[in-house]
Subunit: 549 residues, 2 copies
């Protein structure tokens, strides 16, 4: 390993080593010298309109690449990413946040430095709440070790980490940097052995077992191990909402995306009839599971680092090890599976009809080709798309647990920067588009060509069904005219089913730029899934209140 | 006081009582029932495109109204306001942040609720870093007292506070709410007496004293007390950048806006020649003071709650009390003041010339009428506007210390909602406009009619002078075409000096909507102030590095 290496250079080398070619972010005076160093080192710097946009893009890049980095200036940059990084924490996207900071030599003066809040620790304290590791690189003796520690923690836990880089430390030389990085795994073989024994004894005696597979299988790249388990055991499986399309949905044992009572009825029936549920790598959250509460007496739940059996827990078991060992020990069961994955309703075009949410999602299903990225924002875009039957190699991305509005347009930058050749479809509501849609600017800047559907129902429609009021109204933009402001792109407006047909043809023919399709729906229109979900979620708005009209 | 009052109603009544008529924010399912209650109680709900936009608007409303409130949903809403609220903390804008949260009865389940991060305290812990008081209203016995405590702290310290409102507590009845609110002041009369004695003995013996007045005089509404002090003592005074226009700049003792070596040379000379400087209510920060370091042996510094004399400090002295008592004791000095406030360069129109930053600011000065709000964003908009000579009753607003890009367009919503009749000018750079300019949507939604100057120099020009690189380039939008996207407004593009003349005429004639003027400058063009500032700030970028090219 290099001696005489600067802290900045060590960080850059480490980022490259773990597979990061692109850095998302916006410079500012507390970080600009590190930007210069990154530029000199041929890291691709992807500048967005806002730091939040950069953070959402980095989140998506981490989901497809396995890891990503975000680089911002102190407070005015960093604090603009707090929501997006909190989302990455919640949904397990490993993003390395690098923030500039005042130089160590600057901060002892009587005068406060611009961008300061209470004291020099304010931003670090905030990021402690939303990361699994954090450090300030203020010491040439420890900086390299700290970088190693923090990056390894990011890779291990697949959650964001925070590195604060005072601007006068970028060119300081590391003193005695480490010779070799060692990753300490906390695997416990005894715990694993015992867990496998108990789990197999339950499952091998089960009559109607079923598997629910979640997003961690994607994050830890365990798709192949999971397929082997499926083959060996023969059980039916569903994915969660967040795990959607983790392996091709054409798999013969696939019985749908599980969303409890909110989702597909046939899928739900499999779970109702099951005597044991093996839950693998799933985030146990309300939106992800359609507000289902599982009976833990009949569940086995293995996730990153833990295996829960009934009401006890085995610790320090890696999910990958668990899958491998379980596959070895589990018996095969010939469980008849008669799930009709290909139950697409025949789309019946009625050209002059006003387009509805349900018809839009039906039509979209036929439009999606293999090898497509589908990125969904929050609201009916997310819920309406949950039931889409995706072709093989299609990849689905949506913030189904943290559900922060405005994720999709900037997230698309992240996926396309990583895979420029992939077809990409963005589905975003009008409310969410008003939050971050302007990041479509980067589609022009970096020559990205997604198709964006703005599902425009004139306000916060999901909320209209929770509690209607004037606060759910928003200004109705001519979304398809964003091309005028940005100076490029193809914008199309759609009202009827025939309009949609024409728009899809034009979008397919447009190889020059992104295409944005403004889908005008009725203000109270909603997909079937949203219909069911709002009925359930609505009950929690005021649990103790007397019923209102 | 009412008995049988709900927590939600008590909060609403308290907000109204302290002078809040408008609430900025966006609903979500954890807060929507409180939005409904606010609507029923005729609070004006101002919905922006993003929560950050709402927070900047609330910040500006607080600066003109004395206090404001922001209402958002849990995490995905609240965490989007962290940067803006940090700025309000830094610059002393009293914003009450009200965030929804999961119901107390919901959070003990095995399943995680959507929008959650690590645990239920994550958001509260984050807001602890950027507020002077915080509470979670989870107990009907204490809720009303907590509301009182937190609102009083906000009023006292003029900094943000945080109230978390679990959704099942909105309609819970307060148990034994307080009969009467008492504000405890921590004033110490002995300390005040001693401080006044020492300060007057210094100043009455001074030969060339001068006053530097800062933003706290505005925040605590001490303008009249300050004017009485000026009249009594006869000293010359300057304001800081943040205190700009705190009393009319036509005051005979006014000697300019102090920005150290960066600012006006004549102003700086007054400070160089002074033997004692009385600093009143100033935030001691680098950008606010043009990176000046004061010699504290010759300074007296009175701010909120403290008086520093040379190297010792008197605590628990309110700034208002200090001013009143000092005015009583101080001697008059007839100090000759020959500052030419009206030294406007005669603007010489050369119609076909390409417009420059300096010419733009010169022309703007003549355009500003009395009773105008000027709201400046960060970068050359801020620095270039520092030297503007403002007519009486013009009000200047700019984030001169925290300097978060993207402040001005949403801040204008806050000032105009409060004072719809006032002329308002927004000056914003292209980079900052890309961050939050889309909030101009609210100008249409709420029928506001500011004139927005987008000072377009094709990227992050301030940073080009710190360290140039590709990361300073941004996509060049057709900013004046935002009217197409938003569906309204008047957009004008300007290249030459004559274009600007025509644009100003059209803007004045436009009484129907906002006017946005896209001012095309050269990419390396900058105002004189920015020229001087970047020379000084540039030195801090890499204090220890060897000189580069």
């Amino acid at each position: 390993m290099e001696s005489n290496i600067t802290i900045g250079q060590y960080l850059i080398n480490s980022l490259k080593k773990i597979g990061i070619d692109h850095i998302f972010g916006i410079p500012g005076d507390y970080i600009i010298n590190f930007f210069k160093e990154m530029e000199k080192n041929n890291l691709n710097l992807i500048g967005t309109c806002t730091e939040q946009g950069a953070a959402f893009a980095a989140d998506a890049y981490a989901r497809v690449n396995g890891i990503s980095a975000l680089c911002v200036t102190y407070t005015v940059g960093g604090l603009n990413t707090v929501n997006a990084i909190a989302g990455a924490y919640a949904e397990k996207a490993p993003v390395i946040v690098i923030s500039g900071a005042p130089g160590i030599c600057e901060i002892s003066n009587d005068i406060m430095l611009h961008h300061s809040i209470r004291d020099q620790n304010s931003q670090l304290n905030i990021f402690k709440e939303i990361t699994v590791a954090f450090t300030r690189l203020d010491d040439p003796y420890t900086a390299a070790y700290e970088i190693d520690r923090v990056l390894q923690t990011c890779l291990k836990h697949k959650r964001p980490v925070y590195i604060e880089l005072p601007r006068d430390m970028v060119k300081e030389t590391c003193i005695n940097p480490p010779k070799k990085v060692t990753v300490i795994s906390k695997m416990c073989p005894k715990s694993l052995e015992e867990a496998i024994e108990e789990v197999t004894s339950i499952l091998n005696n089960a009559k109607n077992p079923i598997i629910l597979a979640g997003v961690e299988i994607k994050r830890y790249k365990l798709e192949d191990k999971f397929k082997k388990l499926l083959e060996k055991c023969g059980y039916p499986y569903a994915t969660t909402f967040m795990g959607k399309s983790l392996i091709p949905e054409s798999h013969p044992q696939f019985v749908g995306v599980f969303m409890g009572e909110v989702g597909d009825e046939d899928t739900f029936k499999y779970f109702e009839n099951a005597d044991h549920i093996l839950i693998l790598g799933t985030l146990m959250t309300d939106t992800n599971l359609g507000a289902t509460k599982f009976n833990f007496s009949q569940s086995i739940y293995a996730c990153d680092n833990r295996v829960f059996v009934k009401h006890h827990v085995y610790k320090n078991i890696m999910l990958g090890e668990f899958l491998t060992n379980l596959t070895e020990k589990i018996d095969h069961k010939a469980i008849p599976i008669n799930f009709h994955n290909e139950k697409k309703k025949n789309y019946e075009l009625i050209p002059e009809n006003k387009l509805t949410a349900n018809k839009f999602f039906q039509r979209l299903e036929a439009f999606i080709t293999p090898d497509t990225n589908i990125i969904c924002d929050v609201g009916d875009c997310l819920f309406g798309s949950a039931g889409l039957h995706l072709p093989d190699k299609a990849n689905y991305l949506g913030p189904a647990f943290y559900t922060s509005m405005g994720y999709a347009v900037p997230a698309c930058i992240g996926t396309q920067i990583k895979n420029p050749s992939k077809n990409t479809i963005v589905i975003v509501g009008d409310g969410a588009f008003q939050m971050t849609g302007i990041e479509a600017s980067c589609y022009l800047k970096y020559d990205l060509k997604p198709i964006i559907f703005v599902v425009n129902n004139y306000g916060y429609t999901t909320q209209r069904y929770l509690k209607e009021g004037s606060y759910n109204n928003i200004q109705n933009w001519k979304y398809h005219k964003i091309t005028e402001l940005l100076g490029g792109g193809l914008g199309i407006e759609v009202y009827t089913e025939q309009d949609l047909e024409n728009a899809l043809i034009r979008a397919e023919q447009n190889t020059e730029s992104y295409t944005l399709i403004n889908i005008n729906l009725d203000k109270y229109d909603r997909s079937n899934t949203l219909y069911k979900l709002t009925s359930i979620l609505g009950k929690n708005i005021e649990p103790n209140a007397k019923k209102e009209l």
